[in-house]
């Protein structure tokens, strides 16, 4: 495709060279989306459905996302699973900052999307007020089928990101910048 920007070089490619870089971007996107190393930041009840999704019945391993890496430095997708209280919020932010780019954030469960029905003094009303989020999976807890649907949407997002030249890490919402 003429006019594609190779993300790392900044040089505009055209013609045949552009075609090659776009195929390369697609290949990189394909490789990235099928080798997801997740960091499961599991806090609450959604952790049980996360476990169910990861195990034999609903097997997330067939999507390439079966290996959790328990160190943020080695992971590329941060699954925030379960209610985030104000006490653990700084820890979550620090873990997000420790991850290397490209990184994505999946907000698993309605407590992380918007706070759920815990509208009180202790709960963060949606983690997108603290860290930028790519995919929201609502549900209390979401069925494993919803989780897999969210994972497929994440994979579609990962596939297009390299090709479109977007910055691999998601943009954060400026009004919540602190």
């Amino acid at each position: 495709m003429p006019g594609t920007m190779a993300p790392w070089s900044g040089i505009e490619m055209s013609g045949e060279a552009g075609f090659l870089t776009s195929r390369l971007d697609e290949a990189i996107g394909w490789a990235r989306k099928f080798s997801i190393f997740q960091y499961p930041f599991v806090t609450a009840c959604c952790g049980m459905e996360y476990m169910a999704t990861a195990c034999s019945h609903y097997d997330v391993d067939r999507f390439g996302a079966g290996l959790p890496r328990f160190s943020p430095r080695q992971a590329d997708v941060l699954f925030v699973v379960g209610t985030i209280s104000h006490k653990i919020a700084p820890v979550l932010k620090r873990i997000y900052e420790q991850m290397a780019e490209p990184k994505w954030v999946v907000s698993f469960g309605v407590c992380t999307c918007t706070g759920g029905f815990y509208d009180n003094y202790a709960t963060v009303m949606g983690i997108d007020t603290i860290i930028p989020v790519d995919i929201y999976i609502p549900g209390c807890p979401p069925r494993p089928e919803y989780v897999l649907d969210g994972l497929l949407k994440l994979q579609a997002k990962i596939q297009t990101q390299a090709a479109s030249g977007e910055r691999p890490a998601p943009e954060s919402r400026p009004e919540f910048e602190r």
């Binding site: 609450a44 009840c45 049980m48 476990m51 169910a52 195990c55 209280s85 202790a122």
Partner: protein, 452 residues
């Protein structure tokens, strides 16, 4: 540092210092988020400090803002691996406050649901702690068994994990048709999984070496900390709320309570495995003894889809629906009018009427209105009550204070794993760093219950 031996001076010991190691709050071996600050002398744990509260969600404060039935979803999320036990505990506490009792079939249904929940809790606990010791297959087998049980729970309640099945004065719906054989099949599969896991773990040299002798606590210490449940029973004290302060129909069912001897991790594992077998036994007895409900095959009345019944009722065409029987989706089955007397206490001020009555006659409509409308609802007399049930981790008690209005004045849940976690320093001090993982796994800390 000169360690060479010279003729004048003998070899010196290397200097060491204690190290402060922070485990958590985000740590792979921690079930949920908790912070353990350990002071280590080499590999040995010299002192620990446990910090909790990372999942505090304000259950007790939220319970004061909703009405009595509205607290039930919050109770689901307390001990989220055995939600039916929490539901039952809360509902029985409110029923004690109201002074009403539910029909016998309802008691049996609640007992069956509680025991299935207890099995799922122990499966999760033993599976996860086995996974942390490296036995990943056992974890997968136990989660497979848990899936069978969750499919069963979904058949009855409509949800896998956060069920909200019990109501004050009864349960949401009766057991669906075909529950009996599906339950027996699921329990058979569970027994197979338990046998497999037993063969893999109980005499496994690595498992036994890592679990026995670690995380020991004496029974006097356990009682002083207020520990109950399988943890206490593994130290040799025979206390089970189902036997000593029986509630529902536990006094009619025969089951054994496994008691350990040494109070270490291995005994706790054995107690939990045996408790699962006993829970299966209880469910089988309950299925045998449960008083029969009306058979759906003997239903009278012309079947009408539920949505049509609602529409006819709303436009006032009562004659079309008098005597009709609503046909609902299979996941909503069990609350039909003919099954209603079996699942609710007869108190009109507490339990919603069957939908056929709500849309069919004015008394049912008024009953529905008075219970559902904001500010009306269940109004128990002023008072305070404490009701303990046997949760999967120990005595789960609900202390409810009512001021006569539609929302509770104070709901306090006595969390069983709070007591166990306060004893965690005692369990860890003296053991090695590597023993923190099996000990913490056998504590079965559930964040929703600990921090509420």
């Amino acid at each position: 540092m000169d360690l060479a031996q010279t003729p004048e001076s003998p070899p010196r010991e290397p200097e060491t210092r204690e190290m402060l190691l922070n485990v958590g709050p985000a740590h792979p071996a921690m079930h949920g988020i908790i912070r353990i600050v350990t002071k280590l002398d080499g590999e040995q744990v010299v002192d620990t400090e446990v910090e909790i509260g990372y999942l505090h969600r304000g259950f007790e404060k939220m319970a004061e803002t909703v009405d009595y039935n509205g607290v039930i979803p919050y109770t689901d999320r307390l001990n989220y691996v055995s939600p039916l036990i929490n539901n039952m505990g809360y509902c029985m506490a409110v029923e004690k406050l109201l002074g009403i009792s539910v029909p016998e079939r309802c008691h049996y249904i609640r007992v069956i649901a509680s025991e299935i929940s207890r099995i799922t809790d122990h499966l999760t606990c033993v599976g996860a702690s086995a996974m942390e010791l490296g036995a990943f297959s056992v974890f997968l087998y136990m989660i497979k068994a848990r899936e069978y049980l969750w499919e069963l729970v979904e058949m009855v309640t409509g949800a896998r994990l956060t069920v909200s099945y019990c109501r004050v004065g009864g349960v949401k719906a009766d057991l669906p048709g075909g529950f009996d054989e599906r339950c027996r099949k699921a329990l058979q599969e569970t027994r197979k999984v338990l046998a497999e896991s037993d063969a893999l773990l109980t005499h496994n040299r690595i498992f036994v070496d890592r679990m026995s002798g670690t995380g020991k606590i004496s029974s006097e210490d356990a009682i002083s900390y207020g520990i109950t449940g399988p943890f206490l029973r593994a130290t040799g004290v025979d206390y089970d709320v189902r036997k000593d302060c029986p509630y529902a129909v536990y006094d009619r069912l025969q089951f054994d309570v496994p008691v350990g001897t040494r109070g270490d991790n291995y005994d706790r594992y054995l107690v939990r495995m045996e408790e699962m077998e006993q829970s299966i036994r209880i469910v089988e007895q309950a299925l045998r003894d449960i008083p029969p409900g009306p058979f759906l095959a003997h239903e009278t009345g012309r079947p009408i889809p539920a949505a049509e019944m609602v529409d006819e009722g709303k436009i006032g065409n009562i004659t079309a629906i008098v005597g009709a029987r609503a046909v609902t989706d299979p996941t909503l089955e069990g609350a039909a009018k003919s099954q209603h007397p079996n699942i609710e206490a007869g108190e009109k001020r507490v339990f919603l009427p069957a939908k056929e009555d709500t849309y069919g006659n004015i008394e049912g409509l008024m009953q529905q209105f008075k219970l559902v409308m904001y500010g009306h609802g269940i109004r128990p007399p002023k008072g305070e009550v404490y009701f303990p049930v046997e949760g999967a981790n120990g005595e789960l008690g609900f202390y409810i204070v009512s001021d006569g209005t539609s929302s509770p004045y104070r709901v306090r849940v006595r969390p069983p794993c709070f007591a166990i976690m306060s004893a965690l320093p005692k369990l860890l001090i003296g053991d090695m760093m590597a023993d923190v993982t099996p000990t913490f796994g056998s504590v079965n800390m559930i964040g929703g219950e600990l921090d509420r």
